[in-house]
Amino acid sequence: MDWGRTQFFWAEVAQNFTRNAAMALTAIGTVAISIVVLGVFLFARSSFNLLLNNVVNKVDIAVYLKDEATPADIDTMMRQLRADPRVDNVRFVSKQEALETLRKRLAGQVNLGLINVNPLPNSFVVHTIDPGDVPPLAGELQAKPQVAFVNYGSKVTEKLLVIRRVLGTIGLGVIVLLLVATALIIYNTIRLTVFARQREITIMQLVGATNWTIRWPFVFEGLLTGLAGGLIGLLVLWPAYQTLAPKLTLNLPFLPLNLADVSVGHIALELVLVGAVVGMLASWLSVSRYLRPA
């Protein structure tokens, strides 16, 4: 590439920024504010999802076996469960172990020493990777001949799963709306900066600039505006997160949530990307309006 042209391109971008500084700063500020609002919502949504997942993840399936089940049956079942891709882990609880647990739990309240036979069955405690797999897996296990019955607190679990799905959808809807709103705000701001330079675009066309020569510096400026706004937004959000997150975790100990588990890096990347991409597209669309055929 000819050095003169590269130099011209960068000089155009730099000059447009410095000589329209007030406009550029207003646009960057607007993008930054939009990104802060979007960032707070993205963080809230991630935290809430994490909270719901933490609750739902506590659900286990208890598989009680019939007394007829032989050790070989138990062994086969154990292997089958371990091989199942949906299963996170499986623990076998023998009759004896179950009785011990019960003794400990009822110690001082009921004297189990009076019972001579162990009425408790052998069982498996199964934990799935995805809580959504709990009901179907429980159904499959119930159908096995060695299984007496299966318990996973079906009503509560199913309700929790429904709540998670509904809230997840609502959260997604809110985020999509917010994304659209953010994009529109950024688009409108950048459109105004381009509109203010409509005369310039006409002059560029008059002196024989091709559409691409006119468009590229604008598109790049849009990208830089979005990027700068996004980064400034992060500069506001990051210290706020650092200060508030530990306090929130400390003050809400009853919630099964550790805010440190929220993937803030991921959110930060999303925010900067939203700023940059929307900024670039907004410039592109805005300039194209003025580059119509004569």
Binding site: I203, G208, T210
Partner: protein, 229 residues
Amino acid sequence: MIVFEDVSLVYPNGVHALSNISLNVARGEFLFLVGSTGQGKSSVLKCIYREACPTSGDVVVDDWRLSTLPHGKVPFLRRKVGVVFQDFKLLRGKTVWENVAYALQVTGATSRDVARRVPRALELVGIAHKSKMFPHELSGGEQQRTAIARSLVNNPLIMLCDEPTGNLDPETSSEIMALLARINSKGTTVVVATHNQASVDRMRRRVVRLVHGRIAHDEERGRYHVGLG
């Protein structure tokens, strides 16, 4: 150099700007377009630099038949047709030097080329000493000189001027017209739409009078009031 073949132009708002214009401007010619406001002078110029497309008929500029010129080629036509306006149309954020350089840079000229040709154009119009100033720091005449330098720097075949002295005092107007005559003497075809009676009468070039979008009179070495009886 410029040929109008039975050109009519109706704007989208229904205004009939030009009706059956046929005109031939030779290479190196100097032509005044006269007529009161709204008679079609600017529309004739717009058809030449493809800001407007004739509704019927065709315009040929050098080797370009404009009715079939693809949109993507318009910038290349405009590099060969310099345009100067009453309101100068300078880029306010750029200095005199940068305004003139811009017209070269968009053609992909090398920095060496720019450094060589911009000072030459600025000297020709007599504005080299103000090359670092911004348009708002210049007088009207100086701004118009800058605009002329900008349209000159690409060595255009044709120079179109739409009321180039409309915002200038009589003395400055004469200087600008003299500058255009000098540019014309170097071989550039110059078409000037103007109300500047004094200059037209003094220069005695070809004068075309437009009335209601038609050519009412066309005379070699004419005067401003040509065709008005």
